[in-house]
């Protein structure tokens, strides 16, 4: 079921992209999803594209956009003697406001259990009846239903020492937030494959209707991405932006209604803070009152919305503008000085494939290595 293309097929697709690339003006295409960013990075695709097609890496790594103030909150939780933090490995090294991460906290004595699935987190809770297990629910619409299932299961099985600290984020609202900026220089979106598996096409309609932006829901193989690009470029050339699905083996137009029901049973939309982007209305998920016993924020009395703490942690981080195609990483004052991959400030540096991290590693502006061609 895994599908790979051969070299000739790939070369053909690149030719198509080259053919479709406008000669006159540069195009900014944002791949929203971190998995796309990873796939593009591994394939070396960026270097092979025509110079006037720029791929911008979006805010699509759910752990990278976790706000540093919230990181401080869960680090505080992690330090409580009776608490075990259960988390996906992805979150382990993401630093908070003061530069330290869950990995650091663990080094200082916090109990952190790295799990691959919420089912494992429930097992940790069952195996540690004397402890409170707090699962860090990070992730977009793809992950949220699995976390919701675990809450429902905990309720059904009467597992009382389990709760979720919801850091979940939603994709369409952040896209809208980026587009609200008048200066934004994005022409089209490579839309996330697996988020769309859940939400389908409808939530993206506003992109074309309201902002006149192209969008293609795309798979994660190199040929998927190239085909998605071709479809995007065709939309742009014909000036008929819409939402197409390239990734038809993974996404139905209607998405996954049952998963959305499960998610809606446990969560409701809420304003959310994004690292480097600030507060975005209705861009997150909070646990409904009916599941309050499983809401770590309520169980541990974490004040919401954290007055005094919710201001942008570093006003100098230019991530917002970088994500909008307005600035380049090297135009950020912190780039390479206060902000490096080992000590990142904004999401574009936290993600190892984020724009700032990539520039730092692979260009003359960063560590001194030139990107290879």
């Amino acid at each position: 079921m895994k599908q790979t293309a051969n070299k000739r097929q790939l070369a053909k697709l690149i030719q198509q992209v080259e053919r479709l690339a406008p000669a006159d003006k540069p195009l900014n295409i944002m791949e929203v999803c971190g998995a796309h960013t990873m796939a593009i990075g591994k394939s070396g695709l960026r270097q092979l594209l025509p110079d006037n097609i720029r791929l911008l890496s979006g805010p699509g790594c759910p752990v990278c956009v976790t706000h540093d103030c919230e990181i401080e909150v869960y680090l505080e939780l992690a330090r409580q003697r009776n608490v075990i933090i259960a988390t996906f490995g992805d979150l382990l090294r993401v630093p908070g406001k003061k530069g330290s991460s869950l990995a650091d906290a663990r080094g200082q004595g916090a109990k952190v259990s790295v799990v691959y699935s919420t089912m494992d987190a429930l097992k940790v809770a069952k195996n540690n009846p004397g402890k409170e297990v707090v699962f860090l629910g990070a992730g977009f619409e793809t992950t949220a239903p699995t976390v919701a299932m675990s809450v429902i299961q905990a309720q059904e099985e009467g597992i009382e020492n389990f709760s979720v600290y919801s850091l979940h984020k939603l994709v369409p609202p952040v896209l809208e937030a980026l587009l609200l900026d008048k200066e934004v220089k994005i022409d089209g979106f490579i839309l996330p494959g697996h988020v769309s598996t859940i939400i389908g096409v409808e939530p993206y309609y506003f992109l074309a209707r309201e902002y006149h932006k192209a969008g293609v829901i795309t798979g994660f193989e190199t040929h998927d991405i190239l085909q998605g690009l071709v479809m995007l470029l065709e939309q742009i050339r014909e000036d008929k932006p819409c939402v197409e699905i390239q990734y038809r083996r993974g996404v139905l137009p209607q998405g996954a209604p049952l998963a959305r029901q499960v998610m809606a049973r446990v969560f409701e939309p809420a304003d959310a803070w994004w690292r480097g982007l600030g507060l975005i209305p209705k861009s997150g998920l909070r646990i409904r009152e009916s599941f309050r016993n499983y809401d770590a924020k309520k169980k541990f009395n974490i004040p919401e919305p954290y007055p005094n703490e919710k201001e942008e942690s570093n006003k100098n981080c230019a991530c917002g503008d970088i994500l909008k195609g307005i600035k380049l990483p090297q135009e950020c004052r912190l780039f390479g000085i206060a902000c490096t991959p080992l000590n990142p400030v904004g999401p574009c540096m936290v993600s190892s494939e984020g724009a700032c991290a990539a520039y730092y590693r692979f260009t003359e502006y960063g560590g001194g290595w030139n990107e290879a061609r």
């Binding site: 895994k2 790979t4 070299k7 790939l10 070369a11 690149i14 971190g34 998995a35 990075g41 591994k42 394939s43 070396g44 695709l45 270097q47 092979l48 790594c61 759910p62 752990v63 996906f88 490995g89 992805d90 382990l92 090294r93 990995a103 650091d104 663990r106 080094g107 200082q108 790295v114 691959y116 992730g139 992950t143 190199t222 991959p341 080992l342 000590n343 190892s352 590693r361 692979f362 001194g368 290595w369 990107e371 290879a372 061609r373």
Partner: protein
């Protein structure tokens, strides 16, 4: 070093490990002259050079398809001697055992250590056993220290690497790492793959005797990628590998896609990464193809140019060349 606490990542073979070694350990043990980053020590003793190397084994699970911590403790140290061109001769074994550890498992582990050493013609000559309180160690830790004889004419190492050298791997990559990870992450292997854990001294000796090897490594923790990264820096060379050329067992590839990992970063315990003079290619490939531990050996890349900072490029399926990044911290399963 920025952090004031040691983290797991400091021992993971990645960026922070290097920091720990270069910034803390090396300045303290400053008696090594130029060989600070070599894993094995060359000792000028009367009558010849001997090599000495040490490693502690702290793997979990202790038993995995294809081996156990005992076999690993023998292979790891024997292989570290072998890759520097030494003929491994003697091993010491230091055991730290958590109280409550089952005697049966203990015996199994020691037998497998002993058998593995014997199969490589290596004698275990001295040992030590400590038992610590429950909770003060994770079941069992094994240190093995090995010494071997380095033939007069042999001189291998990063400084011997030249532009044009071929980069050869002796077989499929990531088998050990995946076998262990599957056990840890509850994946079932269905007998598809096992750790490649094996003593490489015999194969290494044959390869060295061709006279065409400039440097060898056993790409353990951190995998082929980390060894390449380290050698590129040490030799101040640019190295290029061809992604498609790297042999990966299809089940390892499947496991990697299931866990969000890259086989180039997975540990191997029975593979040699060989830097070879191009004119000796056929001789070296012959040795590999005729040895049970080298049958799947392949040329995966070459050393392309000098470069003061040293780097590794990967040629992708698209024909693009990208940087092979260093592993930062632990190599954990990812969901995103």
């Amino acid at each position: 070093m920025k952090r004031d606490k040691i983290l797991l990542a400091h021992g993971s073979g990645g960026e922070l490990s290097r920091e720990l070694i270069e910034e803390i350990i090396y300045p303290i043990f400053d008696n090594n002259g130029g060989q600070e980053l070599l894993d094995s020590a060359f000792l000028a003793l009367e009558g010849g050079r001997i090599a000495m190397t040490t490693d502690s084994y702290v793997i979990s699970p202790l038993f995995f398809p294809g081996g156990d911590i005992g076999k690993l403790a023998a292979c790891g140290t024997i292989n570290d001697l072998a890759v520097c061109g030494a003929i491994p001769k003697f091993l010491s074994v230091g055991l730290i055992i958590e109280e409550g550890f089952p005697v049966e498992d203990f015996k199994k582990i020691l037998r497998s250590l002993s058998d593995t050493a014997a199969s490589a013609g290596v004698l275990v000559v001295t040992g030590d056993t400590k038992v610590v309180e429950r909770g003060s160690a994770d079941k069992i830790f094994i240190n093995t220290t090995g010494i071997g004889i380095v033939p007069e004419e042999v001189s291998l190492g990063p400084t011997e690497i030249s532009v044009g050298d071929l980069i050869i791997i002796s077989g499929t990559v990531g088998d050990h790492g995946m076998a262990v990870l599957c056990q840890r992450e509850g994946l079932s292997l269905g007998g598809q793959i096992a750790s490649d854990c094996a003593p490489l001294s015999d194969l290494a000796e044959l390869l060295v005797s061709t006279g065409g090897v400039s440097c060898m490594r056993d790409p353990t923790r951190g995998g082929v990628a980390s060894v390449l990264y380290e050698l590129a820096r040490q030799s101040k060379m640019t190295m290029e590998i061809l992604n498609e050329a790297v042999p990966v067992h299809h089940a390892v590839a499947a496991g990697c896609s299931m866990l969000g990992l890259d086989p180039l970063y997975l540990a191997n315990e029975g593979k040699l990464l060989i830097f070879a003079r191009p004119e000796k290619e056929s001789e070296i490939m012959n040795v590999l193809r005729n040895h049970p531990l080298g049958r799947a050996g392949r040329v995966i890349g070459r050393v392309t140019s000098r470069d003061d900072s040293g780097k590794v490029l990967v040629e992708t399926e698209l024909g693009a060349k990208r940087i092979l990044p260093a592993l930062e911290g632990e190599h954990l399963p990812r969901i995103c």
